[in-house]
Point group: none
Chain length 456, copies 2
């Protein structure tokens, strides 16, 4: 079983691999917009057909939303399940794109060649790194080095409404020894990463109502309580002066870093001044006694994502508004319970309302954090394989974002998930001019070949 | 000179008077929104034409903003100057209006007939009470009982930027023995009022800027300071727990009530529970150690009139926004200096900004409070005339609102201003479904006829 031959094949086949990716990128599979339903279906068909060229028994599986694609390749050794998603984010604002988001192009840039298109990085380019690694393996050896299943979703960018029911209904079929997910990034250009902790998310979208109509601040200012004043007091009270979140019980279930992880993160030499400076900021805003990396990766947060109330047009209006609204999100870690945090927040909010005031909640969104156990020896094997491919050793890292699929593999199927990806911070995913470095694609494909060899 | 004939004429002409008011109400003269510039102009033209039907030499007078309307009717006796404004507040939120705000209608309600439209009470309906009183007088007697001038502004609801320069440039023309201003309210349905103290106003409209672009709260939540968090903390810090405003020096120049005024106000038996209950509120929100009437009439306030930032559409977006904005107004009393309060506020705000944050201010609005002297015998004459028309005697009252024009008449022209109006607390001025009672309009017109007779 020669890995070198597979890597050589990947190198030689790169132009054809890129051509295949371009084909997939030309399909505008925007899952959130019903106008693109047929395109999502077409992307699923394309993947089924492509898997079949590898001799994999693949099919499109209906859901109430967009279809799943599931494929199985028999083989010896451990059963590996690979997950990716073929749907993409909407493309507006269109006027900020330099070209048609669904007319992909390889472009030369100061930092190397990039594939420019919606979905190039998130997640079609990443998904295809694994498929191309399998293709090269098959071409060289005639079969795959392990029993491998493929599981592609078409609703990841629109909240994955069909995912949990589908996993529950097909649990026996989807269960495997480990799940491989390619939807994350490198730590740095030279440092690959396995993401082992992801923050959870709790959203609150609410309106505080005071007077039953908008009032004139001349007639009522002073005597009438202003809902914006109530709201700002509530929101301002969520953090204390040290950056800590004040809700009772909020830090229940927030773990301290293990010494091993702490020292590994210290070794990353994260340059927070540059990270903040790149977006025009100066000082870290989180808990004063936590390092910047902890603030992003391992500490829970609370952010107001939107606020509105009263008159917001041009000019002036001395209105004392009847209501004020906010959208809030908490990033959760460890075993923090979304329901417990929601309860604590609502209890705090409601106790801060003056008599006669009311609150209306609009959301029920929440997912706990994921913390991968790295006891499974597959993690160390994969980390070594990644380290062989890239200039510097691979790191176990955290991620501030929320990727619920990892938790679902564990909770529904009892399977550990390994998050390995090759995206970069400047890929502009979810934004205009999304790109994926050709190097990410090429070395990503080679990385999977190495990982398959290591795990087989 | 028969007053009774004039009053009878007013009664008989009521339907036609209402028709004329409806014509004026159909013109959407929203001064703060540039989209309605032509409509403001049209409202001015309508008034010029209407004054001309009374034989008054009237003209539209240009300003850098919306035009003034000035008219003069020669006559014997004292020179009376009447001021009103033809512009109106914006109408949003439109979905809370029961009908088109500029399609006025006479409606039957449990408490009598009302004229429903934006501007019905503030200030087109009030302005027309005086014009209709003059029309009746002219119809009965062939001329007016005094030398009367008319001065209508079109920028009152957007901060009157052209008013002071216009008064300064035309001081000789506008100077009179007394100014009559119809932009205030009854004390109660049965108790008319002459307003002798008005709060001043200081507006601040600003944006706090943090990161130089919107950020993803997964990647930056925790480490990046959120401008909404900064803004809410600044706004929440403006009041202490006792309802007092915390800005250093804010209460400089705030006088205590004289014993005479205090005892007169106590005699009014103000029912604050009803005043608040009528708009769905329970508790007075002002300084805990002040009576509710003091909170509205004689104490300074600070209110947020508008707040916005981040994502405010449907659903959820875990954005960490680059900026957050608010519109704020302070009601001032006594000799509080708008400039000193602005300076104190800005100094407080800027000292609360984290390193790297910036603030952009958009307003330069400010007017001190006014306190009328009631030595001029016209005040007592008018109070008696009002008392003849209404079920109970007229009162001298304070007003929480800011009508800077009264101070300008005194400061620029040396003329005392008498504020008499017929609005009611439930007129919903500045709010959806604004109305003016037909009784306010009718008895208001009759009141002016009586006052003209008393002052002539």
């Amino acid at each position: 079983m020669s890995l070198d031959a597979v890597l050589a094949r990947i190198d030689a086949d790169l132009p054809a691999s890129l051509d295949r990716l371009m084909e997939l990128l030309r399909i505008p599979s925007i899952s959130t917009d019903p106008a693109f339903k047929a395109d999502c279906d077409r992307a699923a068909d394309w993947l089924v057909a492509d898997l079949k060229t590898l001799g994999i028994e693949a099919s499109k599986r209906p859901t109430p939303g967009h279809p799943m694609v599931v494929g199985h390749a028999p083989g010896d050794g451990p059963h590996l399940m690979f997950y990716g998603h073929y749907d993409v984010q909407p493309v507006d604002p269109m006027d900020l794109w330099d070209r048609d988001p669904f007319d992909p192009e390889i472009q030369d840039t100061a930092s190397g060649q990039v594939i420019r298109a919606r979905g190039a990085s998130d997640d079609k380019g990443q998904l295809m790194t694994f498929v191309e690694a399998c293709r090269a393996w098959k071409a060289v050896h005639g079969n795959l080095p392990a029993r491998i299943s493929f599981f592609f979703e078409g609703e990841e960018e629109s909240g994955s409404p069909s995912l949990v029911p589908f996993m529950q209904e097909n649990a026996d079929e989807l269960r495997s020894d480990i799940a491989l997910i390619c939807d994350t990034g490198l730590f740095e250009s030279a440092v690959p990463a396995i993401t082992t902790q992801l923050r959870g998310l709790l959203g609150e979208d609410f309106t505080i109502k005071g007077p039953d109509r908008d009032l004139h601040s001349g007639m009522y200012g002073g005597i009438a309580m202003n809902p914006i004043r109530v709201l700002t007091k509530i929101l301002a009270g969520l953090h204390d002066d040290s950056g800590r979140i004040t809700l009772p019980g909020f830090y229940d279930g927030v773990p301290e870093l293990s010494d091993a992880v702490r020292s590994q993160w210290q070794g990353l030499n994260f340059d927070h001044a540059k990270y903040l400076g790149d977006v025009g900021l100066v000082e870290p805003a989180g808990e004063h006694d936590r390092t910047p990396l902890e603030q992003i990766w391992s500490r829970p947060t609370c952010d107001v994502n939107g606020i509105w109330g009263g008159y917001t047009g041009d000019g002036f209006k001395t209105v004392l508004p009847s209501k004020a609204s906010a959208k809030l999100s908490f990033r959760l870690v460890g075993t923090q319970s979304p329901e417990a945090v929601r309860k604590s927040f609502r209890s705090y909010l409601e106790s801060a309302l003056p008599p006669g005031f009311q609150v209306e909640y609009r959301t029920e969104k929440g997912a706990p954090a994921s913390q991968m156990s790295i006891e499974n020896p597959a993690f160390e094997k994969a980390r070594k394989a990644l380290s062989d491919e890239w200039p510097r050793p691979a790191a176990y890292v955290g991620c501030g974002g929320s990727i619920p699929i990892a938790g679902f593999f564990k909770d529904i199927l009892g399977v550990d998930a390994m998050l390995i990806g090759f995206g970069k911070d400047d890929d502009q995913i979810h934004s205009p001019n999304e790109k994926y470095d050709v190097e990410s694609f090429h070395k990503g494909t080679r990385s999977w070949a190495r990982i398959l060899a290591a795990l087989a």
